[in-house]
C-alpha cells in the first residue's frame, strides 16, 4: 500500500470519476543534475476526458515529455498526484508500474519503437504476448488491426523493411492491441514527412472515434495541431492554455 504525500487515499482506491481517465493534480517535477535543480513541471493540473483526442503543444523544453512520462507511469512526480484510469499511480514499484502500463497504457514513441529482429506481426502482438494470450487469440486481435492500418500485406516484414510511417502504424497497433484506456504518443510524427505525418494523425483520429480510446500526444508540428480538436499549450513547466472548449 502506498500513500501520497498529501495523505490522500491509497493507490488501490478507485476514483469515482471513470469518465476522466487522466487526472493530474498539482504536479511538480524536479530533476536533479548534480548541484543543479531543473524544474521541468511547476504545478500542473489537467483533466483529460474519456475518448478525447488531445495534443500537448509548446516550445522545446517546456515539459511535454516529462508530463507524458508521468501520465504513462514511466516516472513519478516530485509532488502532486497522477491518477490514471481511476488509480493513483504516483508511487508504484517498478514491477507494478510495468504491469499497470501493460494493462492500461498504450505507447507510441518518436522513433525506434520496434524490436529490430521481430517482424511487423510479432512486434504488433508483443503486448498481447506479454499478457500471455494464446497465439490464436493474438492473431484474432492483431491481424484485423494491421489490416485496418493498411499493413495487411506487410506483416512479415522486419522493421528495416518498412517506411517510417509504416513503422509508426505498427507501433499504433501494438499500443491498441491490449485495448488500453489511454494511448500516449510523444512526437509520433517528428521523424515523418508531412504526407506520412498527416496520414498517421488521420489514422489515429479515426481509431480514436471508432474505438473510443483516449489519445494524448505531444507535438511541435503546426500542421498536426491544426487537425487536433483539443490543444493543451504549455510554457516553462506550466499549462498556459487548455483548449478543451475549442
Amino acid at each position: 500500500m502506498t500513500t501520497t504525500p498529501g495523505g490522500a487515499p491509497s493507490a488501490e482506491t478507485v476514483m469515482d470519476d471513470a469518465a476522466q481517465p487522466i487526472r493530474v493534480e498539482g504536479v511538480t517535477k524536479v530533476f536533479r543534475q548534480g548541484p543543479l535543480e531543473v524544474h521541468a513541471l511547476r504545478g500542473v493540473d489537467l483533466v483529460v476526458d474519456q475518448g478525447a483526442f488531445a495534443a500537448l503543444a509548446g516550445p522545446s523544453g517546456c515539459g511535454k515529455t516529462t508530463l507524458l512520462n508521468l501520465v504513462g507511469v514511466l516516472d513519478t512526480p516530485t509532488t502532486g498526484r497522477v491518477i490514471v484510469g481511476g488509480r493513483d499511480v504516483s508511487s508504484l514499484s517498478r514491477g507494478e508500474a510495468a504491469d499497470f502500463r501493460l494493462a492500461h497504457v498504450g505507447f507510441v514513441f518518436q522513433a525506434y519503437n520496434l524490436v529490430p529482429v521481430l517482424i511487423a506481426y510479432e512486434n504488433a502482438e508483443f503486448t498481447l504476448l506479454l499478457r500471455n494470450r494464446d497465439p490464436a487469440a493474438r492473431r484474432q486481435i492483431v491481424e484485423p488491426l494491421l489490416e485496418r492500418v493498411g499493413l495487411g500485406d506487410m506483416m512479415d516484414r522486419k522493421p528495416h523493411e518498412l517506411s517510417g510511417g509504416q513503422q509508426q502504424r505498427v507501433a499504433v497497433v501494438r499500443a491498441l492491441a491490449t485495448q488500453p484506456s489511454i494511448v500516449l504518443a510523444d512526437e509520433p510524427t517528428a521523424n515523418l514527412d508531412s504526407a506520412a505525418s498527416d496520414e498517421l494523425i488521420d489514422l489515429m483520429l479515426e481509431l480514436n472515434r471508432e474505438l473510443d480510446t483516449t489519445f494524448l500526444f505531444a507535438t511541435h508540428d503546426r500542421a498536426v495541431l491544426d487537425r487536433t480538436p483539443w490543444v493543451i499549450r504549455m510554457l516553462d513547466g506550466r499549462v498556459v492554455e487548455d483548449g478543451a472548449s475549442r
Binding site: 504491469d99 498504450g106 524490436v115
Partner: protein, 427 residues
C-alpha cells in the same frame, strides 16, 4: 518461447561476433571433453593395471590380515564360500590366494620375496598374470604329486636377479601359520612379465596346495581376490558381497578372524589418493579454460546489451517487467552457451572417440620406451575413455558459465529506467 526466439535472432543478426564467440566456447568445451577423456583414460588404465594383476577389484580377507599380513590371518575357504561370492551380481571371477613372505634362493643368490599360492585355473580367469609368460609356461592345474618337485612361476625381474630361468631349481623359506619356518624345493616352470612392479620384482606363484603345505594352512586362504566387471562399481559390489557373506566392509574394531570385504580404494589407498588429487588439480585447469569462455560470453552479451538499450527501454515501457527482461537476456546467453557447448561437445567427442580406439602414441612426446607411474607400467599408447560424464559434464558446466556470465549484462539491462533511456539521456 519469446526469449529463445529473441535470443536466436539477435545472435543471427551479428554473424561474425556470434561466430567468434561460439568458436571460443566450442573450443573450450572440446578441449574439456578431450582432456577429461584422457585423464579418465589414464586414471582408469592406472587403476586397472594395479587392480587387475595384483589385488583384483575387491578382496575378502580377515580383519587381522587387513591390519597385518601374517600367514595365520586366514579364512577357511570351501566351494560354498566361493560359490556364494561368485553368485553376487557384478562378480565375474574369484581366486583364493595364500600369500607368504620369505626368502627365495638359487645357489649363492637369494631375494626377499612374496610367494603367492593360487589355483592356476581360477587365477588365470581372474587375472591376466598367466598371459604375461615370457619364458616357459604357467603352473599346471594340479599340485605336484608327492615326491615330485613343486612348480613355481617367477616375476621377470626377480628371475633376473636370481639369474634363473625355466628348468632351474630354487629353495624357498617362508613363515608358516604355526610360527615354524617352512622350506621347500621348487622348480621354475615359467617367468612372467605383468607390467606391475610389485609382481614382476617381488612375486613368485605356486599352486595353492603347495603353498598351503609350506605354510601349514590346510583348507585356508589369506584372501579371496574378486574380479568385477566395472571398476566404478567395485565399492557397491563389495557391499553386496559383504552382505551375502554376513561380513563387514570395515576391519576397524573386528576380531582378527572375522571376514571383511575391501574394495580397491581400501586395498590401494595410495592410488586412490592419486586419483583424487589428479582430479582436483585438473579441476583448476577447467576453471581457467572456462574463465576464457566466460569472458567471451560476457563481452558479447555486454556489447549486445549496450547496443540495444533503447530497445530494452521500449520493451519495459510497453509493459515488460524488468524481471522478465532479465530472464529473456539470460536465455539469450544460454542459447549462445548451449549452441557453443553442443558444437564443442561434438567436436571433442569425435576427437576423443578417435583416441579411444586408436590411442595416443606417447612415444611422440618422449624417447622413453617404457612408461610407469606409481609402480604400474603403461603401454606406449594412452587410450582416452569417453564416458557419459566426460561428455555431459563440460556441457552442463558451460551452461552454468553462460548464465553466470550473462547475469551482469542482463542485470544492468533490467535496471534501465525506461524514460531517460528512450530519450537517449543515459550514457
Amino acid at each position: 518461447m519469446l526469449a529463445v526466439r529473441l535470443g536466436i535472432r539477435n545472435l543471427a543478426r551479428h554473424r561474425w561476433r556470434t561466430a567468434l564467440t561460439l568458436a571460443g566456447i566450442a573450443l573450450s568445451v572440446a578441449l574439456m571433453v578431450w582432456s577429461l577423456a584422457f585423464i579418465e583414460g589414464w586414471l582408469g588404465q592406472m587403476v586397472r593395471a594395479a587392480t587387475s594383476v595384483d589385488t583384483g577389484q575387491l578382496q575378502v580377507q580377515t580383519a587381522g590380515w587387513a591390519d597385518t599380513p601374517r600367514p595365520y590371518h586366514a579364512l577357511t575357504v570351501d566351494a560354498d564360500l566361493l560359490g556364494t561370492v561368485r553368485a553376487v551380481e557384478g562378480v565375474v571371477e574369484v581366486s583364493p590366494r595364500v600369500e607368504l613372505f620369505g626368502i627365495i634362493g638359487h645357489e649363492q643368490r637369494s631375494q626377499v620375496g612374496r610367494v603367492v599360492g593360487v589355483h592356476p585355473d581360477l587365477e588365470t580367469a581372474a587375472t591376466p598374470i598367466a598371459d604375461g609368460i615370457v619364458d616357459g609356461r604357467w603352473l599346471a592345474d594340479e599340485a605336484a604329486p608327492l615326491g615330485a618337485p613343486r612348480e613355481v612361476v617367477l616375476g621377470e625381474s626377480l628371475a633376473r636377479k636370481l639369474r634363473v630361468g625355466a628348468g632351474d631349481e630354487l629353495v624357498v623359506f617362508a613363515e608358516a601359520a604355526d610360527g615354524s619356518l617352512g622350506n621347500d624345493l621348487l622348480v621354475v616352470v615359467g617367468v612372467v612379465r605383468t607390467g606391475n612392479f610389485a609382481v614382476d620384482q617381488q612375486s613368485s606363484f605356486v599352486h595353492i596346495d603347495d603353498a598351503r603345505f609350506l605354510a601349514a594352512l590346510e583348507g585356508r586362504a589369506n584372501a579371496i581376490l574378486v574380479r568385477t566387471d566395472d571398476l566404478d562399481r567395485a565399492s557397491s559390489v563389495a557391499d553386496a558381497v559383504a552382505s551375502a557373506l554376513g561380513a563387514s566392509r570395515d576391519p576397524e574394531g573386528l576380531d582378527e578372524e572375522e571376514a571383511v570385504v575391501r574394495a580397491w580404494p581400501e586395498l590401494l589407498p595410495g592410488i586412490f589418493q592419486i586419483i583424487t588429487v589428479s582430479r582436483s588439480s585438473f579441476a583448476s585447469m577447467y576453471v581457467f579454460i572456462y574463465l576464457v569462455a566466460a569472458v567471451g560470453i560476457l563481452n558479447t552479451q555486454r556489447m549486445s546489451a549496450l547496443e540495444r538499450r533503447r530497445e530494452f527501454g521500449v520493451l519495459v515501457a510497453v509493459g515488460m517487467r524488468p524481471r522478465r527482461l532479465l530472464r529473456t537476456l539470460l536465455v539469450e546467453a544460454l542459447v549462445l552457451g548451449g549452441a557453443g557447448a553442443l558444437i564443442g561437445c561434438g567436436l571433442g567427442a569425435a576427437i576423443a572417440g578417435y583416441h579411444a580406439t586408436a590411442g595416443l602414441n606417447l612415444e611422440l612426446f618422449t624417447d622413453q620406451t617404457s612408461f610407469s607411474y606409481m609402480g604400474v607400467a603403461f603401454s606406449d599408447r594412452l587410450y582416452a575413455e569417453l564416458g557419459v560424464r566426460t561428455v555431459v559434464e563440460p556441457v552442463v558446466v558451460m551452461l552454468g558459465v553462460a548464465v553466470l556470465s550473462g547475469l551482469w549484462p542482463a542485470w544492468t539491462a533490467a535496471r534501465l529506467e525506461p524514460a531517460p533511456t528512450i530519450a537517449g539521456r543515459t550514457t
